[in-house]
């Protein structure tokens, strides 16, 4: 079942890639996180060149987020005005990021930067998930009769209301400066192009806690924004960097579509807090493995790669 990847220039076992897609889809079905941040490290572990891993990862997310976005759009869970403002930022960030990737790749530093970004990101995400799930497990044991949900009703921080270019977002029932979502979008766009992630794990908490959007429209708007950001980055990575591997992306999408179904089915039957703990441990383990990769002296300090 070996297949030659035309852009990655390597042989891979089709089933391994299908399995990777499956794991990520399974996790996203199970726990609800996108899982794009696990695909790139997995591809790097089997020797896919970093830029190809990141670019094909973005293309894969286009496929995996399409049906979810459509479903939320049909249900009216998308704040289009907010999504468009975010997209102004993320499309700019995506274009800038793809060109940064091109420059880093030419200098031979892209792989290093990706590793550092992932160690940092997975470290932070994994650690906070770990803390959160441990707290949740403890809390659910201590007082099972009722949880004390203390959502602060204090509203936006003062500085956000004082920024210029205020705009009304009727669907989210918000008045907000345009600058905030554009800047957030820009950051997510950069992450998508440099790391091959959708950025939902950043966008969702930012929308809930920082922008204080109603939870009902958060997931739909975030997915919609993410779909078009990854689509832009995927086009640019193919056009500018010739780094999107069609076979890799296709097999990943099929794998993750299958995995998602399985994960969703299982997720309804298994306890959520334990699942989150397992995912947190997986994320931390991947971060640690990547960190060891740059901490341990390599077998050979010299290595040979095909010139671009």
């Amino acid at each position: 079942m070996d297949i030659f990847l035309p852009i990655a220039h390597m042989d891979v076992n089709l089933l391994v890639i299908l399995f990777f897609g499956g794991i990520v889809g399974f996790l996203s079905g199970l726990v609800g996180v996108g899982g794009g941040f696990l695909i790139t490290p997995l591809l790097l572990f089997i020797g896919v060149p970093p830029l190809v891993a990141v670019a094909s990862g973005a293309a894969q997310i286009v496929g995996t987020s399409a049906s979810g976005s459509y479903a939320h759009w049909r249900l009216g869970n998308v704040d289009f005005r907010m999504a468009l403002v975010l997209l102004v930022g993320s499309w700019t960030g995506g274009a800038v990021g793809v060109h940064i990737a091109k420059v880093l790749q030419a200098g031979g530093d892209f792989g290093t930067i990706v590793t550092f970004l992932y160690v940092g990101l997975l470290g932070i995400v994994g650690a906070s998930m770990l803390i959160e799930s441990v707290n949740a497990l403890r809390g659910s044991r201590r007082n099972k009769q009722g949880k004390t949900d203390t959502t602060e009703a204090s509203g936006n921080g003062g500085w956000m209301t004082r920024l210029p270019l205020q705009m009304n977002f009727p669907v989210s029932q918000l008045k907000l400066s345009l600058i905030v979502p554009v800047v957030i979008g820009f950051g997510v766009g950069i992450l998508t192009s440099l790391m091959g992630v959708g950025g939902g794990f950043i966008m969702v908490p930012v929308m809930i806690y920082m922008l204080r959007m109603p939870t009902k429209v958060v997931v739909g708007t975030s997915l919609f924004q993410l779909l078009f950001t990854t689509a832009e980055v995927s086009i640019l990575q193919a056009g500018v960097n010739h780094a999107v591997d069609p076979f890799l992306a296709l097999v990943l999408v099929i794998g993750s579509a299958l995995g998602t179904q399985w994960g969703t089915r299982l997720g309804t039957r298994l306890p959520g807090e334990q699942l989150r703990l397992i995912l947190a441990l997986v994320v931390v383990a991947v971060a640690v493995k990547m960190l060891f990769g740059i901490l341990i002296k390599p077998h050979d300090v010299y290595s040979l790669v095909l010139a671009q």
Partner: protein, 261 residues
């Protein structure tokens, strides 16, 4: 079994060789050799995982045989890692131009025994270091010799530069054959196959064949569109991924998505 087959095939070449040797030419007594390949082309398809081509032939008088296979030029980069604080990072990168991707020296005995004179080996490019005869390394390394050695050992480790003194078999003092093993990843283009008949430290006859390595069908089409029409590819592929995602969602989900929301 395999050896029998090629020996028989090579035997068929003998009459032709005898005719050629007996032909009234200026050097009718000069040793001659005739070589054939089981295939002169390699098709790179999606399922290509490496290939084997057998070279076989006959010679008019007993001698040793050396086969040199040279691929087209394939630019590579050498990355050097070094300690930066607690980390091992790439600290230098050298671009290597003008060297063949593959360089195989296959012979019936070790080359330094067959051709003791280094000058003779160099004349025919029959030392592994000759692969780097026209190498250009940029930026200029501090210690160029050391980097060349590093390049040779990296290439050897990947089995891309091979010197094998037992790869050519000789049977019955007249027939020879060797298996050329091509890796899964290799540069495209025309590979030169040079055959040298060696006796008493001298090359006494040569022959030349070539192997054409080319992409076929889908593979050719994909590499053409992704490199020459990268924007069209990017837009249409991304759109196709979106459609595939929707399709899979509908087929596998059947309303599951709306339930989740």
């Amino acid at each position: 079994m395999k050896m029998m087959k090629f020996s028989l095939a090579a035997l068929c070449l003998l009459p032709a060789l005898a005719l050629a040797a007996n032909a009234p030419a200026a050097s009718s007594s000069a040793p001659r050799l005739v070589t054939e390949l089981t295939r002169d082309h390699v098709d790179i398809s999606t399922r290509y995982k490496g290939d084997e081509i057998t070279l076989f032939g006959a010679m008019t008088s007993p001698a040793q045989v050396v086969v040199k296979i040279t691929s087209p030029i394939q630019p590579v980069s050498i990355k050097q890692k070094g300690r930066v604080g607690p980390f091992w990072l790439n600290v230098a990168k050298y671009d290597v131009a003008n060297t063949p991707g593959l360089y195989y020296l296959l012979s019936s005995a070790p080359l330094d025994q067959l051709l003791p004179s280094a000058a003779v080996r160099t004349r025919y490019g029959l030392a592994i270091t000759d692969a780097l005869a026209h190498v250009q390394i940029s930026p200029k390394p501090e210690d160029a010799d050391k980097l060349r050695q590093t390049l040779l050992s990296l290439k050897a480790a990947k089995h891309e530069y091979i010197s094998d003194g037992s790869a050519v078999k000789i049977s019955g003092k007249r027939l020879y054959y060797a298996t050329i093993r091509l890796p899964a990843q290799l540069p495209l283009g025309v590979y030169g196959v040079d055959i040298y008949l060696v006796r008493n430290g001298q090359v006494i006859a040569t022959d030349h064949r070539s192997i054409n390595v080319a992409e076929v069908h889908v593979e050719h089409w994909i590499s053409n569109i992704t490199s020459n029409f990268s924007w069209i590819f990017g837009v249409s592929f991304t759109f196709a991924m979106m459609m595939l995602g929707l399709f899979l969602g509908v087929v596998l989900g059947r309303g599951r998505n709306s339930k989740k929301a």
